[in-house]
Amino acid sequence: MAYERSDSPGADGGDALALKILVAGGFGVGKTTLVGAVSEIRPLRTEERLSRAGELVDDTGGVDRKTTTTVAMDFGRITIRAGLSLYLFGTPGQDRFWFLWDELSQGALGAVVLADTRRLEDCFPAVDYFEHRKIPFVVAVNCFEGARSYGARDVSRALDLDRGTPVVLCDARDRDSGKEVLIRVVEHAGRMHTARLLDTVG
């Protein structure tokens, strides 16, 4: 598990480790911006075409009844060292793509819920989702210009977050700010994991 080939950095995928962090939040809250700000690769968009089971496949009555839909997901990568990378996935914003979240969240280390204080309610579904699945997440308030600024505690109370769920203020356009958000996610994931281990022992 721990060995690493020195001749070709990162080339040995067999033992390489990839970690996944999700970036969720309402439409237009800055998910793509955040992924782009910290990723070392240009934000790639991967598309998944989905067949809607149960719909009439042979219906040619009108093209508006398309049987496939294209969903775009943003993602980015940060290489920590050879054989250890962090992948970021921006979750699709529209509600009708919820089922994709299940796939994305599988095996995720943690998540960022981006919030805009002018429409905080947009991030409720994401908060609920991660809370129910016990996926460690932090709420990152994207400080838009012109938005009244609220303290982290106000946001935490307004979202009725569990105690211990970190709230950070950030600027999604800023690389350092984005890095700080990710660090908080990893730290929080570590804490939650330790707590869970203790629970199983106790």
Partner: protein, 142 residues
């Protein structure tokens, strides 16, 4: 992401059904799952590749004869893997293919021994404290 259903119409009342899709808007000329022969799941091994599963070229791949019978999409994926170890998600983006299609094609490549695919570590075992420390330090140092 969203399809502009009004594209191509320039006033003059509602468009006739089916008239508003032109060129790329109408979707790919080759339906994506035609490339997989209609299969929507990887072959008998029935592996489900995670989006961040890493794909590496096998150290001991089949010969050029076997490679010659691969389809163009298989070969495109193979050459992307040869260039760099990549995640399934990156391969899909670079090859400009839907993830579902890439999964089926990778299943073929795996079965015929062209590639190896790393399974992501299950979350229960995941955050080894040492690794998390390394990630945090690595992020700080960026």
């Amino acid at each position: 992401m969203t399809v502009d259903s009004t594209g191509g119409t320039t006033g003059g009342g509602p468009p006739a059904p089916g008239s508003q899709w032109y060129d790329a808007d109408a979707g790919p000329l080759v339906r994506p799952y035609a490339m997989t022969g209609g299969r929507t799941r990887p072959g008998p091994s029935n592996v489900r590749f995670d989006l961040i599963a890493l794909v590496v070229v096998d150290d001991d791949p089949p010969g050029p004869d076997e490679e010659a019978v691969l389809g163009p999409e298989h070969r495109a994926l193979l050459s992307l893997c040869r260039a760099e170890t990549q995640s399934v998600a990156e391969l899909a983006a670079d090859a400009d293919l839907p993830v579902g299609v890439v999964r089926v094609l990778l299943g073929d490549l795996l079965e015929s021994g062209f590639v190896r695919v790393s399974r992501p570590v299950p979350p229960a075992q995941l955050p080894d404290e040492r690794i998390l420390r390394e990630v945090i330090d690595g992020l700080r140092a960026l």
